[in-house]
């Protein structure tokens, strides 16, 4: 960037272990937070909040959660949609069955329910590896789809099977306008990002990464695989569960089991891969990319003034989406996070690269 870190000496262990050891990085993050919390709410309009910022933020949370599991612990999961569904439905059931419970607590309880399910379905990962595990996690996906559409208790016996909720209200403060929803989601994302960032640079994160790089070797140096794998499943499904509750309550408002089908699982995995495995920033970049790409492709014919039937547009969208995915994987297999990193390194030396 336009700065040098020369002259910044770390004189204590605390300074050495800081999340952002370089002063300019701290400023940079502070500027981003300022933009997120102050500038965007002043400038953006309702449509932009509803269509872009809120879904991107919630998906970023889910992608970070999945990245902890896939990118850091190396356990491929195709069941993120299921964890989101568990988070959403559990939060809904806590809300209607325990009167006057704070919705934020409900969201966390939804996340905890997803954690329980995640640990149970994480148990096969102790035996099964690689793609066998990926397909095995699909079992959870189909099982939850079935559970929430067939067992009426979870949907509180609504005849259509779809659920509609009131805007979230915390201590009399109603999150009804897009800008309030946006701030709620952003706050949750910031808090969870801090948690994730600190988890992956601590003992537990190192255990995950050792397991990812080679599980047999990790076991030999004294990392219990049962602890590493199940904790990764637990934390990841907690994140994804909370994201699911937010997705349902804040973004959708009313939903049916189909909202959390296998396509959602694939999208979140796309976010993680396109964003960059094993990178927190990557999860956010990937979420933005995958959420905005269909919106963009959808609008493109209108901008270009081409008249096409909606069916045609959706088919072309599929084609372009698929082709772009392949293109991105071929050009930068390590994801957007890697591009971001290269840009930073280049800018650090610019304009005198030698």
């Amino acid at each position: 960037m336009f700065y040098r870190e020369a002259g910044q000496f770390k004189t204590s262990y605390k300074a050495d272990q800081a999340v952002f050891p370089i002063f300019q990085d701290k400023v940079f993050v502070a500027i981003w937070l300022l933009i997120g919390f102050v500038v965007i709410p002043m400038l953006a309009n309702e449509y932009v909040f509803r269509a872009i910022f809120i879904p991107v933020i919630i998906m970023a949370l889910a992608a970070i959660g999945l990245n902890l599991l896939v990118g850091y612990c190396g356990q491929v999961s195709l069941g993120s949609g299921a964890f989101m569904a568990v988070g959403a439905y559990a939060a809904y059931n806590f809300m209607i069955r325990i009167p006057d419970l704070n919705p934020l607590i409900c969201f966390l309880l939804g996340g905890l329910s997803a954690t329980v399910v995640g640990v149970i379905f994480g148990i096969p990962s102790l035996r099964i590896k690689g793609f066998y595990l990926a397909v095995a996690t699909l079992a959870l996906q189909f099982f939850t789809d079935w559970t929430f559409s067939r067992i009426d208790w979870f949907t509180n016996y609504t005849p259509s099977g779809s659920i509609a909720v009131q805007p979230v209200a915390v201590w009399g403060f109603v999150f009804d306008s897009p800008i309030r929803k946006y701030l709620l989601c952003l706050t949750v994302l910031v808090i969870f990002t801090i948690i994730a960032k600190n988890l992956v640079r601590g003992r537990i994160g190192r255990a995950w990464m050792a397991t990812r790089d080679m599980d047999v070797a990790a076991e030999i140096i004294g990392i219990r695989p049962i602890f590493a794998k199940l904790s990764a499943f637990a934390v990841s499904s907690f994140f994804i569960g909370v994201a699911g509750a937010l997705w349902a309550f804040v973004h959708l408002g009313s939903w049916e089991p189909l909202a959390f089908d296998i396509n959602l699982s694939f999208s979140i995995l796309f976010m993680v891969i396109i964003g960059g495995l094993g990178s927190i920033v990557g999860g956010m970049l990937g979420a933005a990319f995958i959420t905005l790409l269909p919106l963009f492709l959808n609008q493109l014919p209108i901008w270009l003034g081409i008249n096409m039937s909606t069916a045609m547009v959706s088919h072309l969208e599929y084609m372009i989406f698929g082709a772009l995915i392949i293109f991105f994987l071929a050009v930068e297999p390590l994801g957007l996070a890697r591009i971001w990193q290269i840009t930073k390194e280049k800018l650090r030396l610019w304009p005198f690269p030698h």
Binding site: F131, A139, F142, L316, Y318, I325, I326, L329
Partner: protein, 303 residues
């Protein structure tokens, strides 16, 4: 008892069709180590191409043969395009990236096929007999009801498996394929062209997809949902093992029969529709005892 056998047989025959789709997966996984999620999309694409060509060519002297030849040519071109545009740039990438790339192929093919050929439901009739017959009347009272098309499908699938087995075991190309499946580097160093082998494998998988698509299509009509049978084939795959042709066949039979029996005998107690996830749970149960599937290769991890 007659009813039980009837359910079992219909399950086994559905299982044969799952095996057909799973076979495509196995072929590609064996030869290139790619977990090809696009197999379902290939089934849809092949069936759509075939059924639309049949419609276009219906006034010519031999519509089925011509449509078949053109469709096969399309599948070969598709295999070459995939090898050139997807596999070659992504060589030596981790399996998960390649898997995501095949998801990209699946999206692309779903969109491409429907842009090219339209997205209606097309009926496909290539002379597979319809209707049902009773068999085994001497053994059970009233006999066992079997759909004729299922029988034909079973025979075709059986023939296909035998042909593939001969192709793999007895021909020069088949030997090369097995060598590549065994060890990429060793195969390359004795002069087997890897890229050429990949094209062949993807072509064979494409042809298997065509057969599966035509059989499923004449049963259910050619429509978008064909693309989703890939999801039905996945539990077959993990049950049988990714590397085994035999595993795909036997896995398919177990899953097909288990699924139908569970739907009839357990389904009513839990609200029905358990076909949707039962196959996965069954496969998961098997995996807990044999993590590499029934016939998969046992990998020994070394540090």
């Amino acid at each position: 008892m007659g009813f039980f056998v009837e359910v079992l047989l219909s399950g086994l025959m559905a299982g044969v069709l799952y095996s057909l789709v799973a076979l495509g997966f196995v072929l590609i996984f064996k030869a290139s180590g790619v977990f090809n999620f696009a197999q379902g999309a290939m089934v849809l694409f092949a069936a759509l191409t075939f059924v639309r060509l049949l419609d276009i060519l219906k006034d010519t002297f031999a519509p089925i043969t011509l449509a078949l030849i053109i469709t096969i040519a399309m599948m070969i071109m598709l295999a070459m395009a995939i090898e050139r545009l997807v596999l070659r740039p992504l060589v030596n990438q981790p399996g998960i990236s390649l898997f995501m790339a095949t998801l990209g192929i699946a999206y692309f093919l779903d969109g491409f096929g429907q842009t090219l050929w339209g997205s209606d439901i097309y009926t496909l009739d290539i002379g597979i007999p319809k209707g049902s017959i009773f068999i085994l009347e001497s053994v059970f009272e009233g006999g066992v009801l079997v759909a004729k098309e299922d029988l034909v499908a079973t025979v075709i699938a059986g023939l296909l498996v035998v042909t593939l087995a001969i192709f793999f075991q007895k021909t020069r190309i088949g030997r090369a394929l097995r060598a590549v499946a065994d060890d990429h580097q060793a195969a390359q160093s004795i002069g087997i062209p890897l890229n050429y082998i990949w094209v062949i494998v993807w072509t064979v998988a494409g042809l298997v997809a065509l057969v599966a698509g035509v059989i499923w299509g004449s049963k259910l009509g050619v429509q978008f949902s064909l693309s989703l049978i890939a999801l039905k084939a996945l539990p077959v795959l993990i049950l049988g093992g990714f590397e085994s042709v035999l595993g795909a066949v036997i896995g398919g039979l177990i899953i097909g029969a288990g699924e139908k029996l569970a739907e009839i005998y357990i389904g009513p107690y839990v609200g029905g529709g358990i076909e949707y996830w039962f196959a996965y749970m069954l496969a998961l149960g098997f995996l807990m005892f044999r993590p590499q599937g029934l016939f998969g290769e046992v990998h020994i991890d070394r540090v």
